[in-house]
Symmetry: D4
Subunit: 207 residues, 8 copies
């Protein structure tokens, strides 16, 4: 018999780490179309807000070519912990960042960022080493091309990170539609155009 333990996202035990979603760096992302990537990042952010997950924002050199944090994220998380790293490439090398993570008291970390093989993979590996359960939100993380992505996924997955995408994250956190049908429905309608169309067809028919 397998000893597999399903480490399932528990909304009471999850923190979200959004690493270097900055306007300059976003323009380096070529493994998603810009529309898809924007939608995925904001969907994850909206999900984090919806589930009231403690969220930590961090950036690298906002004053330089990397550009400021994507403004939409600032708006969604006006009160989030916000660590502007003075130089550490791996966010986990920054004491304030780790303190912020520990301050959440959570053991499950959802991580997304730009670029996948660095800003996501490095803190993911560090957190795994410290015993956290790490869930990579793969479609809210972007990089230069498919080859780079593939290698990054392989490295993180081999280390024990769970590869997820924003929709699965939201579903695993919510568990049961009855907890709030409208809220979850709105989240999906806003970020899944094809699901929105299903809803609209359905609603029209109901009139």
């Amino acid at each position: 018999m397998s000893n597999f333990k399903y480490r399932r996202l528990d909304k009471n035990d999850v923190a979200v780490l959004l690493v270097d979603h900055q306007t300059g760096l976003t323009n380096l992302v070529h493994d998603f179309s810009p529309d898809d990537f924007k939608n995925n990042v904001l969907a994850l952010a909206d999900a984090a807000k919806y589930f009231k997950l403690p969220t930590i924002l961090t950036t690298s050199f906002e004053d330089g070519p990397n550009g400021p944090l994507v403004p939409e994220l600032k708006e969604i998380f006006p009160d989030a912990a916000y660590i502007a790293r003075p130089g550490n490439i791996n966010a986990w090398d920054n004491e304030d960042f780790v303190k912020a993570v520990k301050a959440t008291g959570k053991q499950q970390l959802l991580i997304a960022g730009i670029v996948t093989e660095v800003c996501v993979a490095f803190p993911a590996l560090s957190a795994l080493e410290e015993g956290y359960e790490v869930f990579v939100v793969a479609d809210a993380s972007g990089t230069f091309n498919q080859t780079t992505r593939d290698a990054a996924w392989e490295r993180m997955s081999a280390a024990g990170a769970q590869m997820m995408t924003w929709f699965g994250v939201a579903c695993e956190l919510h568990r049961d539609w009855r907890n709030d049908i409208e809220g979850l429905g709105a989240l999906f309608s806003n970020h899944l155009p094809s699901y929105r169309c299903l809803i609209q067809s359905y609603m029209a028919r109901g009139k």
Copy 2:
């Protein structure tokens, strides 16, 4: 010497035809990602509104599986001519539709719709036959797969339709940024995430 005449979009001579952008039909579109397609259709709509182009909406069997007109389009064009066709597959076979087109008094037609090889191609070919200048907004038109798209483009292009995409349409209509920098910039910022990032990086730097 070539006798080529550049039939250039002139915002005073353009009407927009949005054909069968319905919620059910949208779910048949597989030659774009849903995020990309939604963005392209709304970008065209926002451009049409921005340039105050007369716009005609038409649908096929909104009460049936095809579903209602995409609600966002209704909101953007609350006062547009709106022809719910009782059965004509080619919108141009519908007298009211043709009347509405003629009532605009325009000679240049921007056409987009679902699906490309039918709802776009048929009225495009009919309009070409009647002497209109036809511009297909190819990225706001969707269909079942790439093969179907390729054949549809080939047929329309062979007939003299000009193949364009929403960004080119907006640029050709605007002609000169000095006509309104902020307005055009807002349109692009709302529908080109990569351009939005450039603007945000630029603005941040200006602070």
Copy 3:
């Protein structure tokens, strides 16, 4: 002003030529998935039957490696003209075939077959030369790979053939849903799984 004439499919003036849809040759087709290709060919056949279009079947060496005509086509068209060519590669080089075409009295020819650049392109070019209006049903025609397909399309299109796909053919022939909503709906439901789902969702809702 353009002199474009919209040569539109007219169900009273169309004949269908199905060229070499044989079981052996079908296994050479690599520019479609087998499921997609089977569906496209049968969809065209069902459309031809639905619109009662005179249909001509022809094959090349059924006794050899090319294999027999796809049995489903035999069943759909039990009484169709059927020319087993003794060796002509271009079906139009076969007198009986041309006679059968002329016997239909139609001026518009829908052509599909295997392989695209030979069994479709050759008779298409011959028919164009004789003044027929030729419509290639591109997704019911298959070949070895995408490169071969691209060249074949280019050659036929440059010669004046119109590139279509089965769904567009059916829509252009039907013209108006009111001619028979159920019949056309059934055709689409049987050959467009995504449309079938729309219908089923709609019907369920109506209960």
Copy 4:
């Protein structure tokens, strides 16, 4: 020496779980062509029926936008256990569903559904944790895009699920053609158009 144990499908120890193959949700699937996906799902269903595997159907909100269970599945499994979940996203969170699984008395579970990273992955992980042998029927499971699929496969595979496709499932269950050549041949002929052509060529030759 490796300690690998080949957990091989045994038709006496297998149950099939079909999760949320609903008409609305099917329209969200973009990682397969609609023809391919329809064929794969029905092939799995026909295989399950052919091998008389206990099969459990479950759906989520059939009355809403997700739509009813695909009617073809209802027809194939008129007497199957059928759990309409009142809200649980993970079918395994539904007591009736787990009871139905346990009632089969089987230890090997074939799971397919829509969407892969949620409706398939969640119960797969839950079942693995409870000691079941889990086999994902990957080509009868669909989702939004290739990225989402890749992450879902990675997560399930890392947990110990075996990734299979319907054809492999049927072959591993059957073990020996001599158990029933015609039955298995019919299954393949109905769902593998390329194999059907081989058979038809063969049969023709035999005449």
Copy 5:
């Protein structure tokens, strides 16, 4: 009525121009897999030999990095006209080459070479200007990538060149299987592995 004239390959009026199929240049070809490209070039060569078409070989700087003519071509055409151009990039700028073409007395030219947009396109355009009928054997012509290929095809096709592939060329030249079933069958069996399999299955069955 269209004035289209089907300029059909006539084996009595065709010459073949193989331009710069050299071993060094072959390694620059990235728009085909090496196996596919090798097969296509040799298939064209074997077809030219089979139909006894006058064939002209030309190379550019065989002593330099471009490398020698592919040895297999030398073997197939031991007596062909062979023009080692001292520097002309467009073979048609070389008097000896044009003389050799004229010496064939043919009006239809089959052209293939490396790289497509230069070694094929330049002489193709020159020959078109001089009134020859030009047929590009597109799959026996290679270049750096798909973008470069697409542009080259577009330019040649717009100029009136007919885009073909080796299999279509062979079929159009042969016209009727009865002219020599075994010869054509052997050509196909040697260069179409999938057709070879059909033949082998057929032959086995016949035993």
Copy 6:
């Protein structure tokens, strides 16, 4: 007989127009990998310099998000005509730009820029209308995605523009290696890594 006239690039009659190759806009290009695109643009620039072609640089809002002209181009063309357009989207709408073009006295225009469907297509169509021979350098022109590119190519090609790529441009201008083997060889070695390898292998062997 065809009336085709081969409008062949003549280095004495060519001017080069580089339109909006700015650092911000370059980050919008997603139809090439960044390495490929950088190389293509600089290859065209180096070719223009090598052939001493009059070159005109133009930009749109260098002070804004579009960013400055790519610095490498400034260095290659320190004395080129340079028109910073105050707002015209179509460079041809700018009098100074047209004057600069006319001042070259050339009839053949090589055009490249960002983005293809606007900054390249608009002046290309304008120049065609005025009787210039227009050659689009397609691989030194970039845009948002493949769909946008395809539509832009189709529109320009239908208008009579010739689609080329930088390597073909260099070859057609040079005509004969004997004009300068080393110079052309250096150009290719610097911008075609695969050709560079051929040369290096050859040189090593010669030692």
Copy 7:
């Protein structure tokens, strides 16, 4: 420290299992181009012969639609063990086959076949369970499509099979070019057209 043991192919301890490379089944392979696949299979066969590896051929129903063993394999291995299985789908279920494997006395098994997820995966998993070292020759194994291939690779790799391709197999077996430069060079020249070109360029230069 890792406990990784490099299970390296040792030509004295390897047997080759070629499973169901039959002419009918070959026509089902769609995850390779026919040219590529034919080359890969014959390259593996030639390598097996070159290294004098004991090779076992097995087939399934050669008299039926699956067709006979590919004749080229028969010619390469006239004296190989040859098991025509009467019905076992997993070759390892056939006693004669297992006996033949055991009779070789080898512990390392190179396995290739059609289709990957069945004819390769099943015996691979069985052999792993019995303690053999299993090396899948992935590019000499084909299946219906990329999805099916991906799942099959995942399953075998998770079980401990090593994924290889024919070129790596040949290199790992040979170990040192000095064992026989000409023999290995001939193998590569015959099955790697790009390497053949390198050799031909080199040889020409040496003259």
Copy 8:
């Protein structure tokens, strides 16, 4: 709790092995565009130089078709250990090579080469067996096609090699921008055209 240990690149404990980056072999690489691959290899080399990592160069038969070591690498590493292997395919089978590795005294090995499944995979597996930490620089390693790459990655990853790409390597080595902003920035600017554009836009704005 997981026992995962993050084996992180430490610039004091890393050696770089560049295996068979020769001019002939480079022309066999088809899983990257030539521009991308050249850039990746030189980026890795520049990073190795920047971090002063001991680097070992090795080649196989430079006098033959494989060609000389890429000259750029010779220039970057004039004093590097350089082992011209007399015949060992696996560099680790060469005593001098292993001695050179051991002489560095490092435990972490960055390996890249041509072709991936042989020249990279073989020494990677050997080094893993001897207890080294192995990091494959996947985008500076090339091979014949994507299938071959996929199998090679799978094999190395299963053995415990970490899959990385050059940018991640540089970032993990550098750890903190404050160690040298300009140096790292120059490295990125030289090898990431998209990042270079960000910097140039930023610098222009700063003027």
